[in-house]
């Protein structure tokens, strides 16, 4: 070991928690280092003094009362394996009724969720159009995009073949080449 103070090991040295090699290293160092020897002595004195600190005894009466208080506070509680407590037994009929009840609750939850999601979608659509358009309202073509037109076609138009194109009839030129207008 190079010459280095061993104060970080002094606690474990006094506690007897060092390996034999580390212990031998510390002892070799202590032979030549007065500073570390003094540190060991201070630590020894501290440990001795700590062991001398005692707690005042509050007396047997206090501990009797303490047990009484604890007993009163725990009297209404149940211990995990307490056989004196009534147990709830689940019979075959009760189990069947519980299963039916759970299934019914699941179905109601599913239906409620479906209605709720549909309602949310409708509200979203409404808010996209400024919140003014309700189901069944008249909407002009400039208020909606071509994609939305596909999604919400006017009644009576079959959209299965795609977006209808506007056919514009060309005016026939006058036969005599004279424009009468």
């Amino acid at each position: 070991m190079t010459y280095r103070h061993t104060s970080h090991l002094h606690g474990d040295y006094l506690d007897g928690d060092l390996s034999p090699d580390a212990r031998a290293d510390v002892e070799r160092h202590l032979e030549t280092c007065l500073e570390c020897r003094e540190d060991i002595e201070r630590l020894k004195r501290l440990k001795q003094a700590l062991r001398q600190i005692e707690v005042p005894d509050p007396g047997d009466e206090y501990f009797d009362n303490l047990r009484g208080i604890i007993s009163a506070r725990t009297s209404a509680m149940t211990v995990p394996g307490d056989s004196t407590q009534p147990k709830v037994e689940i019979t075959g009929t009760t189990r069947q009724a519980l299963k039916t009840l759970i299934r019914l609750a699941a179905a109601v939850t599913f239906l409620f969720s479906a209605f709720y999601i549909s309602d949310i979608n409708q509200e979203k659509q409404s808010s996209r159009w400024g919140g003014k358009i309700q189901k069944g309202d008249f909407v002009t073509s400039d208020q909606i995009s071509p994609e939305e037109r596909l999604m919400y076609p006017p009644a009576g138009i079959d959209m299965s073949l795609g977006l209808p194109t506007l056919m514009v009839e060309e005016e026939e030129p006058p036969a005599n080449g004279i424009n009468l207008e």
Partner: protein, 189 residues
């Protein structure tokens, strides 16, 4: 004794309330003393003692190794005392003067130290240690008390504090270094 405690724990886990009362009787003084050392006053130590046993009653089902019941007790008591210490941090109780020493710090020196000057010297040292220990952060203080006063091993302290043994080693080293620094000359004489 350990076998008897394990037997009582097993009975208690099966629902025997008498076994719980016996366990309280065995551990109540240890819990009170530990709490007093951490909190340095009777009222808080009493609260820790009550609460520890009520919690033990509630959590006994969680104890998988009945042979480690003592660590289980110390763990609940230490954690509750540390929490209480943190809550009380705002209102530090004035330290007792040397003349008040028989309160929190009582000495068993009389039989060992016969020289009156030495008695006074030790009295001063103990008062200074109590004061210095009070200024340590809660976990360092608890580690020091469990290891150096209660005499538990580092492995046991780690189990109680719910941390690695290296943390116990480090907290202990820091706590002792702080005390050595604060006590200075008192430890050299």
């Amino acid at each position: 004794m350990t076998d008897e405690i394990t037997r009582l724990v097993l009975l208690f886990q099966k629902g025997d309330r008498q076994a719980f009362t016996k366990l309280v009787k065995v551990f109540q003084k240890k819990v009170y003393a530990l709490a007093f050392r951490i909190l340095l006053n009777h009222i808080d130590a009493d609260e820790v003692a009550q609460e520890t046993f009520v919690r033990i009653f509630n959590r006994i089902g969680q104890l998988k190794s009945p042979e480690h019941f003592d660590s289980f007790v110390y763990r609940i008591a230490t954690n509750y005392a540390i929490d209480l210490l943190r809550k009380r941090k705002g209102r530090i109780v004035a330290m007792p003067s040397e003349s008040d020493l028989p309160g929190p710090v009582q000495m068993t020196l009389a039989s060992r130290v016969t020289n009156p000057e030495k008695v006074l010297e030790n009295k001063q040292l103990l008062a200074a240690i109590t004061k210095a220990a009070e200024e340590l952060p809660p976990r360092q203080r608890a580690t020091l008390i469990l290891h150096d006063i209660e005499g538990l091993s580092k492995e046991e302290v780690a189990r109680i504090m719910g941390c690695p043994e290296a943390t116990v080693r480090s907290n202990l080293h820091i706590a002792r270094s702080k005390l050595k620094k604060k006590l200075g000359k008192l430890l050299s004489s």
